[in-house]
Amino acid sequence: MKLLEKIYKTSNLFKNGIFIVITLIILILLGYLIPNQKPESFKNQIYTLNGFNAKYNDEAEVSDFFHSIKKNHGYLVMGTSETVSMEEGNYHDFLNEDPDLKGIQFSVLAGAGRTCGTYIPLFLHHQEDLDSLQLIYFINPAYWRANLCEMNLKYWDRYTQYQICRTISLTESEQKQIFQPVNHYKEELTFFQKGIAYFDYLARDARRNYFCDFRNQLFPEKYAQQFQFITDTLSDYRSCPKYGQIDTELIDTVWNVLKTFQHQSWYQPMNETDTYRDMELTSFIRLCKKLGIKATFVIGPYNERFIQQYNPESLAGHQRVVQKIKQLLIDQNVNYIDATALSPVAGAFVDHQHYSSYGAYRIYQLMKQQLYEEKSH
């Protein structure tokens, strides 16, 4: 106890405090002498990329991720919340397990609110890694809805880092053509938020020196262990009893949502005046063209049955928005898969904006048809 009392004496705490500060400064400075992790060029295709690796643009991890896809002639599937993992499997899981598509594997980058604009800074930092990458981008029309149609700072902060956006140099025309969504984000940040973001970047950088680079120097196997490879993630969804079936126990096929969701009042009609999402998508398409990415866009379905029950007057707005997106893709001359035919299909949704596992199955079939035909020709 005397020892504890001695430790807690202000004069001792003061001496220890100075020692701690000096040690910390030395450690932080020494950290920058540790060699950075180099890409390892894995044979197997990596399933997904940790969100922090993407947000902070961890060179080796991001580079290895893209290269593993290209090396295996696979696809990168990107999307928002609908594309994330689902308990009963999502369309990319079904594609990965499809024996007819042998040899083609699908990696995933997805998250709620992770719209295409948020990937622009990361893609621009990895221009060489992305050339000829096969990409499927799932467009959820829900993002043209009121409340979601504008730039969302919270989502951008989750998936991107101001410092990563700031350190990209582009020509004036490129700024206008492909960088507008990022500039929009930068403009939304206050001076104070930028300061915090800068400090956050520095702190992460200092930490990474030890917790990634130094760790990997000591234990080289740790680097590979942080990745999930597609071969490790296969779960055999095809043998599930509900594979490709409508879960009528959970889904009310009249309202076309989960029975528990029926009375939720989260629904919002489309906003047909705001052009932010059009601009974001157009910028992303231009970026894909500039980088030589072979992109295919999927126009996702909307829950037509639910809209008809809940707010039938707004259905026409949905149809117009989907038509507008389709026209934008045609005008930009890109490949696309139109999955909007699923919009009125019973059992295809769990809520007003997310498809069910059955919906995912139908989307998978649609995509398989297109991809299989492509490969056969």
Binding site: N12, F14, K15, I196, D200
Partner: protein, 401 residues
């Protein structure tokens, strides 16, 4: 937890650095006070909503002016009515059952949206407000400064869970110029934060799962051993977590040049339950002693013959710790926990005042060690009531029987 997110950590770091730079440039107390005020507002806005902060600030301003009046006038009615209102608002916010009961008739105002403030830190604000009023009335606070008072109430390092400072101590450290000592405090604060972080981030996560849920140990141990082990770990966990948090709060305050009081002093080496409460959550138990226990003694003394001093003390312990239990939470298990300690203190009082002097062995080392172990066991068993709800307690006792 004060540093519950990376953003708050960065905000606090920025504030501490800016504050110390300004303090180095100017010796003007007003400027420093104002800077602490803006720092408090900025950091608290990351913890509570604007509405809560505005309501708490306005309410505190009212209490400040009442305190000012009490510093010059001996108005017991003003003091009593002010404390009653504070307590009423606290009870309404913390006990939904009472809020529902009172929400009709003349008390319907309690459902007004303006009063719907968040609970975070509210009980600690309550302590500070009551302390300010009572000490102003007792003339122990003779002078008060408006900004210092607001800073005292909204001081971010101690906002969520103390330590509960006294106004005079806070005003002393804010209002004096001690450049060399502040420098020492700054670095001492870094050490304290590190000690706290080791406890909270380094050790607590290792044991929290087993400490807070005995069922996690059931696959490997029998029911009895699982419960005993879990309880022992809970004692370690709650001490490290709470004292670690206090270390971080105190360290942060040090870095701003304010020496807030200590909250823990090796409580598990206490030789009695009375000593335990002098070493555990010290600022809270001091508050209980000053503003609950002593007044309760006075109340009982007014209608029980003073010759029955022991009975008065025992009853006061039980009342005080029942209130202590209720303060910790609105469910019945907290009342059991309070009663457990109230009864324990009563037994301890009977032992120390009536029986202990008769036994010579009470001065031996063996007795002291046995006292420490017994006190620890008693406190540890008490944590059963603290951590498990009534239904969980029934399950637990069923398992034991």
């Amino acid at each position: 937890m004060l540093f519950n997110s990376y953003t708050i950590f960065i905000y606090i770091l920025f504030f501490v650095l800016i504050y110390n730079v300004v303090k180095w440039i100017t010796t003007n107390i007003w400027v420093r006070n104002l800077l602490i005020f803006f720092g408090n507002i900025l950091i608290l806005l990351t913890l509570v909503k604007e509405h809560t902060l505005i309501v708490l600030s306005v309410f505190s301003v009212l209490i400040y002016f009442i305190g000012k009046i009490l510093q010059h006038k001996n108005s017991r009615i003003l003091l009593t009515s002010s404390i009653s209102i504070i307590l009423l608002l606290f009870v309404i916010r913390n006990y939904p059952y009472i809020q529902n009961q009172l929400s009709d008739g003349i008390f319907s105002f309690i459902n007004a949206p303006i009063l719907s403030v968040q609970k975070l830190g509210i009980s600690y604000i309550l302590f500070r407000l009551i302390h300010f009023l009572v000490e102003s009335y007792r003339k122990k606070i003779q002078r008060s400064n408006f900004i210092t008072f607001l800073n005292y109430i909204l001081f971010f390092p101690t906002f969520i869970a103390g330590p509960i400072d006294t106004y005079n101590n806070f005003a002393y450290w804010v209002g004096h110029e001690r450049k060399s000592y502040d420098w020492k405090l700054f670095f001492a604060g870094i050490s304290r934060i590190l000690i706290g972080a080791v406890k909270v981030v380094g050790i607590v996560p290792l044991i929290i799962v087993y400490a807070t849920d005995y069922t996690t140990l059931l696959p490997d141990f029998s029911a009895w051993w699982a419960i005993i082990l879990s309880l022992l770990l809970y004692s370690v966990y709650i001490y490290l977590d709470f004292s670690g948090y206090s270390d971080i709060s105190i360290g942060t305050a040090y870095m701003i040049g304010i020496k807030t009081p200590e909250n823990f002093n090796n409580p598990y080496i206490s030789q009695s339950l009375a000593e335990f409460w002098k070493r555990w959550h010290i600022t809270f138990s001091s508050f209980l002693k000053m503003y609950v226990f002593k007044p309760t003694i006075r109340v009982f003394s007014s209608f029980i013959n003073v010759k029955h001093r022991l009975l008065i003390t025992i009853l006061s312990y039980i009342v005080t710790f029942t209130i202590c239990g209720l303060w910790h939470g609105s469910s019945i298990n907290y009342v059991y926990w309070g009663l457990w300690h109230g009864v324990g203190l009563a037994i301890n009082k009977v032992w120390t005042s009536q029986l202990k002097p008769r036994f010579a062995f009470c001065n031996s080392t063996g007795y002291k060690i046995a006292s420490i172990i017994l006190t620890f066991i008693y406190v540890t068993i008490g944590f059963v009531f603290f951590q498990y709800s009534q239904n969980q307690l029934i399950e637990l006792f069923k398992l034991l029987s």
